[in-house]
């Protein structure tokens, strides 16, 4: 029996959400990709083969003439390309063939460039090498529709932006190519999200994207550290809001990389700000200098994006105005600005952590969610523990506080589990 889900939705037989759930179910059931293990081993084999070839050739073959060396340098690429043609011609429907072939080609590109560089003693310009590799590998993602190459591309892209920022004196524009190279990869990601929403591969992509964004954003040199930091806060805030989009919200919590990274990152930053040491060394913002700093403008762009996303989610009824979680990022920014006039900004950070800790505990209790509640408890405990090392309390008092915290964790979890049993 073949069912047209769209038809059922249109006729009002099932809701849009149910249709999505049915679709996801069929995409993740084992018989759909019963050869997933074979796929993983095929790709692992290809990766090992690729790396092995690079290592053996990196040994340097002094004894061969230049032309023989060049022939061998091209051998991995030419054979991978030949295999690529065969796959597209005969096996284009087989996931295993496509993935394996694409991964082999991915490594073959690097092999030939490296070996030609070695044969002619060309000095290494790592970012340029990675950039060439990225440009030649990108279309593999589309032509072979390869998950693995897509993930490898993200890893390579992140390595590129880090190294380009490290060597950025001669080519100050180069690190910004990261965003362009990310944008041209996006259509594949969007397709994955639309077509294979619930698969693990798509979840891996979420995590890789988030990790790449955070690493890339942090790798830029901070002309003015303040605006860089504030822009980082907003980036985390945007990630958090992205996690509220209906698509991500219906995922199991460990697959919602955006929400988790946003909430953990922001809580971490807030805890960091709760130390007075941070504010002592922090020079207040000098507005006149801000205009010459690129991160000032990035901050503004991110702020507008944050606001737009917020309003969009509100319009879609995906968020509730009273959900305090949404306001962590903006309030960090507000206390940062306030620190300009107020010397005790760390008190405000402490207060905010306390508010959110309690908020998570209360809502966790209401929603019957152990994760929410324990996260709130964790925040409050961290706050207490940190303040503890700031101050000179006696060991007995410290000991008692530890015991009380431990008991609180036990007690609250016990009560909630008990409450669940009754319901």
């Amino acid at each position: 029996m073949k069912i047209n889900l769209q038809e059922l939705v249109d006729k009002g037989v099932i809701s849009e959400a149910t249709a999505l759930k049915i679709k996801n179910y069929y995409q993740t059931t084992p018989d759909r990709d019963s050869n997933r293990i074979l796929l993983v081993f095929g790709v692992l084999g290809a990766v090992l083969l690729g790396l092995g070839i690079i290592l053996i050739l990196a040994h340097n073959w002094d004894n061969f003439s230049r032309s023989i060396k060049i022939f061998w340098a091209f051998f991995p690429l030419l054979s991978a390309q030949a295999l690529g043609f065969y796959i597209l011609w005969q096996k284009s429907q087989s996931k295993i063939w496509c993935e394996t072939g694409a991964v082999l080609l991915f490594f073959a590109i690097a092999t030939v460039i490296s070996l030609i560089g070695q044969i002619y003693h060309i000095a290494g310009d790592t970012p340029k090498f990675l950039l060439t590799w990225l440009l030649l590998a990108l279309s593999l993602v589309y032509i072979f529709r390869s998950y693995f190459v897509s993930l490898l591309y993200l890893v390579l892209l992140t390595a590129f932006v880090v190294s380009a920022n490290h060597w950025n004196y001669s080519e100050p524009i180069r690190p910004w190519l990261y965003w362009g190279l990310l944008v041209v990869w996006l259509p594949y990601y969007v397709k994955l999200i639309k077509k294979y929403a619930a698969t693990n591969f798509t979840a891996f992509h979420h995590w890789f994207v988030v990790a790449s964004l955070l690493i890339a954003f942090g790798s830029y040199p901070s002309g003015g550290a303040d605006w860089h930091l504030l822009a980082y806060v907003l980036l985390l805030g945007i990630l958090l809001l992205t996690g509220y989009l209906s698509f991500f919200k219906q995922l199991p919590w460990y697959k919602n990389a955006y929400f988790l990274t946003g909430i953990i990152g922001l809580s971490g930053l807030l805890l960091f700000f709760s130390f007075d040491v941070f504010w002592l060394h922090n020079e207040s913002l000098i507005w006149t200098e801000s205009l010459s700093q690129i991160f000032f403008y990035i901050f503004i762009v991110l702020f507008v994006s944050w606001l737009a996303l917020f309003l969009y989610l509100l319009h879609q009824k995906a968020i509730e105005v009273l959900d305090l979680t949404l306001y962590i990022a903006p309030s960090i920014i507000v206390i940062y600005f306030l620190s300009h006039w107020l010397h005790e900004a760390n008190y405000l950070a402490n207060l905010l952590i306390l508010i959110w800790g309690v908020y998570f505990i209360v809502t966790g209790n209401k929603k019957n969610s152990l994760i929410n509640m324990n996260f709130g408890m964790l925040l409050v405990s961290m706050l207490i523990l940190f303040r503890f090392f700031d101050t000179d309390l006696s060991f007995i008092l410290k000991g008692i506080i530890f015991i009380v915290l431990g008991l609180a964790f036990f007690g609250v979890n016990y009560l909630l589990v008990k409450k669940r049993k009754y319901e």
Partner: protein
């Protein structure tokens, strides 16, 4: 139809993938066939490149590296290093310029490595500072080269500012 589209895209990709290494070869072969051979005095050490294997890192002797200047040069800025050759074929630094000089062919592209403000000097970095060798040979080569009693130099072919190392001599 769809299959053909993918195949066509792949053909374009294959051509691109091949053209990058082929261009690298063509550029260097052109220098090797038609370039001028010079000797560069060196002081090498040997690190490893994860992709390309072990190599001897060449540091060029002082007269090729430091340059007296009052110009406003910044680190990593590209410069043209004009050379002159002595009777034994050793290269010596003649002048450093931010632009190409007319009617002079004996030059290499180089970069400002760092600037010593108070001395008004710059240190140069030459983009041909790696000599790849078999991993077993580099260690003995390095030992020989650091014994200091020998004079070592690299043989480098030069054309259009590109230098390609053809050999490393120690005697």
């Amino acid at each position: 139809m769809n299959k053909n589209k993918y195949l066509q895209a792949f053909v374009v990709l294959v051509v691109l993938q091949l053209s990058v290494p082929l261009y690298m070869i063509w550029q260097r072969e052109n220098v090797l066939q038609n370039g001028i051979l010079l000797k560069f005095k060196t002081a090498p050490v040997d690190p490893v490149d994860p992709f390309k294997g072990r190599y001897v890192k060449l540091r060029y002797a002082d007269e090729l590296v430091f340059y007296e200047t009052r110009q406003n040069l910044k680190p990593n800025e590209k410069v043209y290093v004009y050379l002159k050759s002595d009777n034994d074929g050793f290269a010596h630094l003649d002048t450093v310029s931010q632009g190409l000089l007319p009617d002079r062919h004996l030059y290499v592209n180089a970069y400002v490595n760092y600037v010593m403000k108070y001395e008004g000097k710059i240190a140069l970095y030459y983009p041909f500072d790696r000599y790849y060798m078999n991993e077993f040979k580099t260690r003995t080569t390095e030992k020989q080269l650091t014994m200091n009693t020998r004079s070592t130099y690299a043989l480098i072919k030069i054309k259009n500012g590109v230098g390609v190392i053809t050999g490393l001599i120690s005697n």
